[in-house]
Amino acid sequence: MESVNLETITIAEARRLLDNKEVSAVELTKNYLDRIKNFEKDIDAYVTVTEDRALEDANLADKRIGEGTQTNLTGIPMQLKDNICYSGIPTTCSSKMLENFVPPFDASVSTYLKNENSVLLGKGNLDEFAMGSSTENSALKSTKNPWDTNRVPGGSSGGPAAAVAASECVFSLGSDTGGSIRQPASLCGVVGMKPTYGLVSRFGLVAFASSLDQIGPLTKSVEDSALVLQSIAGHDSRDSTSLDVKIPDYFSNLTTDLKGFKIGIPKEYFIEGISPGVEKSILDSVEVLRGLGADVKEVSLPHTKYALAVYYIIAPSEASANLARYDGVKYGFSEKDAETMWAGLEKTRSNGFGPEVKRRIMLGAYALSAGYYDAFYLKAQKVRTLIRQEFEDVFKDVDVLAMPTSPTTAFKIGDKIDDPLQMYLNDIFTIPANIAGIPGISIPAGMVNGLPVGLQFMAGTLQETNLFKAAYAYEQATEWHNQFPSI
């Protein structure tokens, strides 16, 4: 085959090569499987590599390309975060609790990708049940950042972000409850996008916090992000929170001209605790946006400082209810050494869940318990309303907001794992979008001491086209997306 540079290849480029028969889907897939074999020992981005499935998918894709009936993602080798079900392939959530769980059904997004004959390379590592910001909470393995393997890739979609950064797949799907797509994308120097809540079906995504969870793409370019979203967005009757709306053409707005486009810079996102290198990168980025013709102005979102507290009431509360289903009876890990069902249940949950998951279940149970419900859960839901209204108001004035994705670049493995509160602060700039249900994207926007910095945009509900417009214009005007880790 023609030599294909896997480091630089995007979906758009792979599509051109496949359609022109310069490379077959099988050849492309074998290239990725080889690369996975070479780099996985250093990166640990995959929980499961599905070699047979991948080659079978690639064969089907080649047939389809031969018939001329291919679609955007036909024959594109990809990964799914391991909390997204794919029939017949283990879905572990990187938890001992689901280590041997093989779903007999597909998540809706898996069905959509199958229908396009995308190629499944495997499942990506995550913090157990998507709870964490470093992927160190995975009960199976700790993923390393391809830019510096002594550092974390972020989380919880650390496997997907590292796999895209290390070119161990063309794209991956992650899930974002409080920043779990955008924060690792920022730390690994790739594009990570969280759609509006309800835009992408959650059916078959293992539930963490149901009012916040959303599936989205991790890719090498903004164009790829739009391409993947185009394929997975849409109403699904199997998710009762799925929005029944017309899906726009996400490409129509991909232009490099931002003349008249209004960008707000919320001052509350430039606070004490943000690293000077990150702050400088983001302020430099703002100047780039201004240079592209954008009308940039400072705005204020005073309730931002409450978002983290709201999140750490609502997310654990919903998690405590969602994770009550793990009882060792129907599926998953089961502690057999017990006299009674009740003793077995307690042992199963005690030995099947890791420390962070237990912490959140117990925190949630406490916040929901009699006597505390009003003080914690109801209070958090009310402040959530105020945060949401504040965003609604600001988007009457501006098209998008620009801010840092994460207060720091990638930190060292082990640095924050013993201090839950310190770890939670990683998501301080991403959480507000989940609280309000609005879309957000992180794109590469600088390097500090050899580590990537992410620039985040947020837009109003269902205003993904604005998000892509700002991100694409910035990307095309800069070279940050053309830098690759030397692994």
């Binding site: 007999p104 409450y306 925190l363 406490y366 309303t385 839950p420 249900g437 609005i438």
Partner: protein
Amino acid sequence: MSEQIDLSIEEIRQISVLTRIAMTEDELDVMRAQMSNILDSVAILNEVDTEDVEPTGHSVNIKSVMREDQIQDSLTQDETLLNAPRRDGSFIRIKAVLE
């Protein structure tokens, strides 16, 4: 949640019972300190005036979804029970519920 939150070991023990997560005394102690810390940090919400503010359950306005009851294909019984840790034919086997 106006004053400093200091959960007692008994409160943590009670939550461990409610959530069916068995814990050793040492684990209870660590959890007590960590949960007290986290709850302390969320006490910042007391500053916010939420009088007359409606709570938000979901970020988008979603109504109950109704549909016609239609007969559709579903998983077979065997597929459904595929992951059961202990099976007895078409049943799931569990330990004694009553002692």
